[in-house]
């Protein structure tokens, strides 16, 4: 069965935002004074400004990356979570969240697909926001 881009993307996002599989991540966010409302699509970050401040940090932003396949079949979708925190917190809370996020995505987390965690980026601030950030890359593969 071909991988459905829309449902796979929705499932992947909701795993952290609302589903039981991501409850440990949301609980940790609450511990840090943040909440599930700090789990947002990446492009939402650009709409925040002084009048409309960013969600409380740590915040976790989703971005879809490249999709491979041919005209009939989607083979792989690469998706990323970007974990941001305030400058004074540096990477401690970010690094604490990484294993919780990875654990929320067992291989069969999405119907008709395999999920693989393929690693985290290095510690480096986002130059646009001057905030510490690390990204986690996952691959959603067509289960054939």
């Amino acid at each position: 069965m071909a991988l459905d881009i829309v449902s796979a993307t929705t499932s992947f996002f909701n795993t952290l935002a609302t589903d039981s599989a991501g409850s440990a991540v949301r609980a940790q966010l609450v511990t840090y004074g943040s909440s599930a409302s700090s789990i947002v699509p990446a492009d939402f970050l650009k709409k925040y400004n002084n009048a409309s401040p960013m969600p409380v940090r740590p915040l976790i932003a989703y971005r879809g990356s490249v999709i491979t396949g041919n005209s009939r079949t989607v083979n792989e979708m690469f998706v990323k979570w970007f974990i941001y925190d305030d400058e004074q917190s540096q990477y401690y809370r970010i690094n604490t969240l990484i294993p919780l996020i990875v654990a929320a995505y067992p291989e069969n987390a999405i119907p008709h697909a395999y999920i693989e965690y393929s690693g985290a980026s290095q510690e480096a601030p986002d130059p646009a926001y001057q905030m510490p950030v690390r990204s986690l890359t996952f691959v959603i593969k067509n289960r054939q």
Binding site: A42, R63, S65, F82, D126
Partner: protein
């Protein structure tokens, strides 16, 4: 029943020849993969660019098995220098740094990079909004694997 003997020297020589052929296939696959990845990155629409330095200096090269990519890196850096010379739209500069990647003796790989001091920012800013190196590599990783398998098989046939 006739005796059957096995000359271990011939067997070992055969295995060595086979390994050499596979190695040649891997090299060919990686070279073809690097060409494809570089072309993919030069055609990306992930960013628009101002000076053309990122696109011009985008370089994919094979490392390992005696290759360090130094000549490709020099050419990529020179492309960035040329694109940024006289350009005043931003303050970015050409930059060539060591990749920091160390391979074990049997390992080989492909590096895709650009030679500007804002390359890292492009990958990171706004949650990777304009990231292109990672996506270009990821999008062709499976194809490169198939190239390597295909060339290795061809060498063995």
């Amino acid at each position: 029943m006739a005796d059957q003997t096995l000359d271990i020297k011939n067997v070992l020589a055969g295995i060595t020849r086979m390994m050499d052929r596979v190695s040649e296939g891997i090299d060919q696959g990686l070279n073809a993969g690097a060409t494809l990845i570089e072309a993919t990155d030069k055609e990306t629409e992930a960013y628009h660019g101002m000076s053309g330095a990122t696109r011009a200096s985008s370089t994919a090269y094979v490392i390992g098995n005696g290759k360090d990519g130094s000549s490709e890196a020099s050419a990529g850096y020179q492309a960035a220098v040329e694109a940024l010379t006289g350009f005043t739209g931003h303050e970015g500069q050409a930059l060539k740094t060591d990749s920091g990647i160390t391979l074990q003796s049997a390992e080989r790989g492909i590096i895709l990079t650009t030679f500007t001091d804002y390359a890292q920012d492009l990958e990171t800013a706004n949650a990777g909004e304009k990231a292109h190196l990672g996506p270009s590599l990821l999008s062709k990783a499976t194809v490169v694997t198939s190239f390597i398998a295909s060339f290795s098989k061809q060498k063995l046939s």
